[in-house]
Amino acid sequence: MDCEEAFKEAANSNNRCGRIGERKPECGCETESVSPDSPGPVVGSETVVRLIYSPLHVDPVTGDVTEAAFSDVKDKGLSVQREAHVTSANIRAIGEQKRAQDDALGKKDRQFLGTVVAEVRTIREVTYDSGTRAFCVYDSALPSLQAHADVCQTTCSPSAMKRMRKRLRDLFQRKPKMP
């Protein structure tokens, strides 16, 4: 099974990252494209952008994004955009479009609060005490969003995984900013 197939197979899983990790351990799919729509595998010098839509993901006192805002990384994958393949205007448009859709659907609890960014190299350098990589970054492009990528967490004990998510939070900018 190649990586594209592994991602297709895991697409509907509640634990997409775990599933991919079982099929392709040790971030085995980082060096090849996992999507036919991708501009190419994600390289370490790239930066990735996470769009923040919920005020619940931000500490109301400090304005900092919470550790929980990065929790998707442990199961479905943390959706991010590759800055090298998308303009700030595009990112703003994605955020505003989503906000407008939510408004139309009566979802008033959501806003587009801005983005936080991190360098891929630093994400890939995070390891558990055992030395095992904690996060993989894949070029999971979508037909309508070629810059889309996913950050997936590798499996370890719950507390160790939690600590790494806090570390991931620290790698991203702490406060969302408008692109």
Binding site: Y53, H57, T66, A68, P158, K162, R163
Partner: protein, 190 residues
């Protein structure tokens, strides 16, 4: 009938409430529906339930006195935020986020029921999976707890040079000493 009682000591006043869920509720997992139609204010903001409570009925806190009221007011944001997590709509975070389950919220409340009022109060957070977190951060220390509705929690209690945690602590168990120490170190006010 499923009954949850929270008779906390007055010092942790904001947590002292009683829930009684009436007939026709086969399991607590089914309560998301009726509770989803109940405003946070109806449950926590006042003594009298308002709105459509469905099968769930909230009773006013019996202990609330003039003396304890001030302490209840000290942490209304935490309790109301936890209840709010129950009523989040689908995709609340823009990434297909789920609301917290009733079991998860109950675990958080059960934990807080035993939480010493002398320690700094936590801040709440919620994950897209519906897992509820409580955290404390300051002075280079970070303590954080995750509740997933299993009646156990996972925590980390980290100092800059010393990281520790546990994967499965019963919600009803005494607070781990390590957690107490790191929580206390997140503030200078103690």
């Amino acid at each position: 009938m499923t009954t949850y009682s929270y008779h906390d000591r007055p010092s942790s006043s904001a947590l002292s409430r009683s829930y009684v869920f009436g007939p026709g509720v086969s399991s607590v997992g089914h309560l998301g529906g009726p509770l989803a139609q109940t405003s946070t204010r109806a449950i926590w903001g006042g003594a009298v339930p308002v709105g459509n409570l469905g099968a769930g009925i909230c009773q006013a806190p019996a202990w609330e006195t003039a003396d304890s009221k001030g302490q209840a007011d000290g942490n209304p944001n935490l309790t109301s935020r936890l209840v709010e997590y129950l009523t989040l709509g689908d995709d609340w975070d823009g990434y297909e986020g789920k609301a917290a389950s009733l079991e998860t919220v109950m675990d958080a409340f059960n934990f807080l029921q035993h939480f010493p009022s002398t320690l700094p109060q936590p801040k709440p957070m919620i994950a897209g999976s519906g897992v509820i977190g409580l955290y404390w951060e300051g002075n280079g220390c970070y303590a954080s707890i995750d509740f997933d509705g299993s009646e156990h929690y996972c925590y980390i209690a980290d100092r800059p040079d010393d990281e520790r945690g546990e994967d499965q602590v019963p919600v009803s168990a005494a607070l781990p000493q390590r957690l107490i120490e790191v929580i206390a170190e997140t503030t200078d006010r103690l």
